[in-house]
């Protein structure tokens, strides 16, 4: 697992059933593009987060394929419908096989 990788997500704590909410996510990651060279002229191997998904109670909200052109510390903002109370699950997949997960509960008023 790459060092210092830390996910952050921002989800409202409550919503009305059927509401649209805005979700923001950020994960600390170098997103080494595979196109840079080190001091000795050797190509630094690519090491990126290549996929990000968000699901709610088992149903998909968004599924993103990332390439090396996504900036360091990948950031996403998108909108979800909240049909009922439950849990958002966020998953980031690293080139090195690591998987980072984060969950957030939301209640429905």
């Amino acid at each position: 697992m790459a060092d210092g990788v830390k996910p952050r997500v921002k989800v409202p704590k409550t919503a009305a059933a059927g509401d649209t909410i805005t979700i923001k996510t950020l994960i600390s990651h170098k997103m080494e593009s595979g196109q840079r060279k080190d001091g000795d002229g050797n190509v630094i191997p690519r090491s990126i987060i290549n996929r990000f998904t968000c699901d709610f109670n088992g149903q998909n909200v968004i599924d993103i394929t990332l390439e090396a052109a996504i900036s360091t510390n990948p950031y996403f903002e998108f909108q979800a419908i909240v049909p009922e109370a439950g849990e958002f699950k966020f998953t980031w997949y690293d080139d090195d096989g690591s998987v980072y997960e984060e969950t957030k509960e939301i209640s429905v008023s």
Binding site: R8, K24, S28
Partner: protein
């Protein structure tokens, strides 16, 4: 407001080709839809001969860059504040203490960053916040000092700045700190390097100019440390000083050197009255 008068203007034109001018943005920085930041205010008394108003570098950045700083979630610098929060609460060193053991929650440090660099009576020296943090690590915790611009250090200064955001910068320049402040002022106005330019030639005489596509600010440090889009990490004040000195093709001082400490005190005092903004977002 055409500022390209005088020798320095000619210098800029000479070195950079056509130089355009653009006013700072007419914009208000409201942090997290809550804290109204002072990004523009009357110049402190010691600058009254040379300028009327001081501006945060935020006003010289593009719309998208400004927006990124207005919300803690959008500001990537806050990732590092969170990392520092973890370190704040971590016990280290021979005394089995964390920063929190003595200082409580990090929010208890609100206001501290606003008055640094500051004269330390016991040590008989002007201390930057980095020096104070290392003093605590070494003498209070029995832990190893951090490198002056190391990741841990710049993250910690970002945490200390973040809890003071919105408070006015207010460094003392009189009393025992005065001679150091004078040294810093001299450095600020000394022309160096092959380009023979001083900080003032760019940041006092020509702020507002476009150097190539870069909108030149007053070079204030109320917003440090800064997350730069360019290197996608937090940058310490002394790292930025180094970059600017190097650009005049001069030998630069090292981070943590007496020269840069004096310069930091002086440059901070030029921003007295602006809000503490760190960690900010710059290009």
């Amino acid at each position: 407001m055409m500022k390209l008068a005088g020798v320095a203007g000619i210098f800029l034109v000479g070195f950079f080709g056509a130089v355009a001018y653009a006013d700072p943005a007419e914009d208000t920085l409201i942090l997290n839809e809550d804290i109204k930041m002072v990004t523009k205010t009357a110049a402190p008394a010691h600058l009254s001969d040379v300028m009327d108003e001081v501006y945060s570098g935020w006003l010289f950045r593009g719309t998208e860059t400004r927006a990124m700083q207005a919300d803690d979630f959008d500001n990537p610098g806050m990732l590092f504040v969170e990392q520092a929060e973890g370190v704040w609460n971590t016990v280290e060193g021979s005394e089995d203490k964390s920063c929190a053991s003595c200082h409580g929650a990090s929010e208890e440090m609100a206001g501290v960053k606003a008055v640094y660099p500051k004269w330390n009576e016991t040590a008989g020296e002007v201390r930057t916040i980095e020096m104070q943090v290392n003093d605590c690590r070494e003498n209070q915790m029995g832990a190893e000092k951090w490198g002056y611009t190391s990741g841990n250090m710049v993250n910690m200064t970002a945490l200390l700045a973040s809890v003071s955001r919105g408070m006015p910068v207010n460094v003392a320049i009189d009393g025992p700190a005065q001679s150091v402040w004078e040294d810093g002022k001299e450095l600020y106005y000394t022309r160096t390097g092959q380009l023979e330019m001083s900080c003032a030639n760019c940041h006092e005489d020509n702020y507002g100019s476009m150097i190539r596509a870069d909108h030149l600010s007053q070079g204030q440090i109320n917003a440090f440390p800064v997350y730069r889009l360019k290197n996608t990490k937090l940058n310490a004040v002394h790292s930025r000083f180094k970059g600017c000195v190097r650009d005049t093709r001069a030998e630069t001082y090292s981070a943590g050197s007496p020269e840069f400490i004096a310069l930091e005190l002086y440059v901070s005092s030029r921003g007295n009255g602006l809000s503490v903004e760190g960690p900010s977002v710059r290009n």
